[in-house]
Assembly symmetry: C2
Homo-oligomer: 192 residues x 2
DNA sequence: CGAAAATTTGATCGAAGTCAATCATTGTGG
DNA sequence: CCACAATGATTGACTTCGATCAAATTTTCG
């Protein structure tokens, strides 16, 4: 996967960028080729000042709640992911971020995001789009968590990500949906 | 309440703004003095392209879920509120926004937000701060909804807003917390 | 003051959690 | 390349928190 392909993906899924902006974006970011699944790219406690564009693969953000692994976020192809508290508030990360498949990521630091946003208005728009998209997804998730049954939440997830069960262990899907693995397993039984 | 006081509040709770920016912000926004509680300022179906800074009072965003009133958001003094889906995606609002006390609001349109963000870097920073603050609050709310008991959710709300029970009917607090009014009432009983 | 709205209290029910035991799949070392 | 340990998923029995339905009580306000 080349730099050009990655930029192409960003442009088709977000907005076109000027040549100058793209050149400087590549210069100020780093492509990570991660071959091992379950590679941890952010650890709890890190000052995680990097944001990652998933060019290929899947990643998840999770944290330990009373020692139990709770998935907070999945990022698939063309999504961005970061440790949201750490990135935006400059505090130690409560989250781990882990890659779940062989993946290609574009890594960019908060400082470089700021710098590019100041310099290129199209990058600033991209940046705002990513943040607003995240906010709207969270909004949707809040409604979902609050008023949907386990079954509805699972079906809705499948609607937006039909391939998720092939790519992500059920344990992570369960904790993401706020249900137990056992309940998820029962729900998946066709007799429901 | 004067324009100067409102601007002063914004500056102390967010960031200082240049004089030019403040002058133009006042010119491109409108102060609403709302004397009747329960005044609806955004209706379901509206293209709600306005954002409101609460200089004084309380407002809430709510929607009807199967005919039932569900509170999605409270905004108190120095908070911003808007119909998030409508404002950012330019679609008809699923939310109503209602004022719950005699209030003073500063109303600004999406177009004016864009314009001021382009023209004044300090306003752009303010705008980003508001969005990121919203995102982080939602993040916190997701964790809360997913793993806390009714009692914990209520206590946490009281910790950040001790005065909320004096200012907002319990029905709205209950639906905001994702619990029924009856459960909230039981939880509030000192024997818990 | 009295009607309407808000809140409390009580009794019952059900969705999903917990604990525990199996079953299935995967991947690694002999 | 198989065996078997480790991990992941399913199934079962039981429990619990909070929902629902219903009624009583308190508060608010014209």
């Amino acid at each position: 996967m080349t730099n050009e392909q990655i930029l192409q993906n960003i442009e088709t899924h977000y907005i076109p960028l000027t040549e100058a902006c793209k050149t400087e974006l590549i210069k100020s970011s780093k492509v990570l080729f991660i071959s091992d699944k379950d590679t941890i790219i952010v650890n709890e406690g890190d000052y995680a000042d990097k944001s990652y564009f998933i060019a290929k693969g899947v990643a998840r953000a999770y944290y330990l709640k009373d020692g139990k692994d709770v998935t907070d976020w999945f990022a698939f192809e063309n999504d961005f992911i970061c440790s949201i508290n750490s990135f935006f508030m400059d505090i130690p990360s409560p989250h781990y971020i882990e890659v779940l498949e062989e993946s290609v990521l574009l890594e960019i630091s908060r400082d470089n995001v700021s710098f590019l946003s100041e310099k290129y208005i199209d990058f600033d728009r991209l940046n705002k789009m990513v943040i607003i998209k995240t906010m709207l997804q969270q909004q949707h998730r809040i409604v979902s968590l609050q008023f949907e049954t386990a079954l509805q939440k699972y079906h809705n997830l499948l609607k937006t990500r039909p391939d998720i069960t092939q790519r992500v262990p059920l344990t992570h899907i369960a904790s993401y949906l706020g249900i137990t693995l056992e309940t998820l397993s029962r729900i998946r039984n066709p007799k429901y």
